[in-house]
């Protein structure tokens, strides 16, 4: 087996995550789909590190993980704040600016 298969898997996971972001309207699930996309990118990074024979790809994946952790903390705080004022986690309810 060629390690390129890992890249195909990463592309597939990224696509599924992206479709989920567009289809779902529960903010928490949209967020989980974003996490799925980030994880797919990480898998691609790790595979590229192996293809090229150096560790830079793994360093990138490491930084992605740190940024993802920060993003999750802030994003979930926003969802909780939104839920407190609207009693809903649906992205459709964030429509204050809509006429």
């Amino acid at each position: 087996m060629n390690p390129v298969n890992y890249l195909y898997l990463a592309a597939l996971l990224f696509t599924i995550g992206g479709a989920g972001v567009m289809i779902r309207r529960n903010a928490i699930i949209v967020f989980m789909c974003v996490e799925l996309m980030l994880n797919a990118c990480n898998l691609a990074f790790v595979t590229f590190a192996r293809l090229h024979g150096n560790l830079d790809g793994q360093i990138f994946a490491f930084f992605t993980m740190v940024v993802a952790a920060a993003e999750v903390v802030v994003g979930l705080a926003i969802i909780v704040t939104f839920f407190r004022s609207r009693h809903s986690a649906s992205v459709d309810d964030a429509s204050l600016m809509k006429l």
């Binding site: 060629n2 597939l12 996971l13 994880n39 898998l43 790790v46 560790l55 909780v80 009693h87 986690a89």
Partner: protein, 282 residues
Amino acid sequence: MSTSTGEAIQFWILAVVAVLGAIGTVSMKKAVHSALSLAGTMIVLAVFYLAQGAYFLGVVQIVVYTGAIMMLFLFVVMLVGITAADSLKETIKGQRWAAALCGLGFGILLIAGLANASLHSFAGLGAANSGGNVEGLARLIFTTYVWAFELTGALLITAAVGAMVLTHRERTQRAATQRELSEQRVREGAQVTPLPAPGVYARHNAVDIPGLLPDGTASELTVNPTLRARGQIRDVSGERLAQLAELEQRSENWLERDEHERDGGHRANGVNSANGSNGGGQ
């Protein structure tokens, strides 16, 4: 050049699991199920990292992602309401199909692009990992990428402060004391006494089961307002209520007859036997 057969077998089995988990994340109706599917996918990805020589990242994936981040997700799901399922009504007509079509097109584009890239040989991490994977990563982080690493620290602090600021609620007025609250209750003439307890039945005694009023209807007051707002009151079904009313009617009739036959002094006895028939009558 290619990988070992064992890795190929592992890949083809676990890749299916990962894709199923991803599809589950997108398609499950309840957020908890989505979170569990995503956790499964993340564990599979951790195994892939380990198989590809990224030992540090494999462990970090399990500890940070499946451990910390997914638990944070579950925590928020519990906070926001576990049954807050998605409304399945489409707000934009045909949006779902358009999104699925976009996803499909994007996937085809991405995979076709990968297929056209010349990735037929791979170097492998043997040389890079020769001094140890963690040591190699540490050397890179603290030399080449030290600036990015320090920015990461700033980012984490900002995120922590941001989360605290976002979830913090400023109190604009002094909290009312217990005395003030009780005085307010009396003044408003609302519920002065403590609220009635939820129903206790032979089969259920949970807090989401309403108690019954003397006429057999369910009392809303007996269930916690949070559960009421979420619509999580478990139904004491109408059929059961009808049965109960019938039973009570019958026992009342029986009691009347009892009272008719005996004197008033045996009333306590009659109530007892009525209760007995209540339990075993149906």
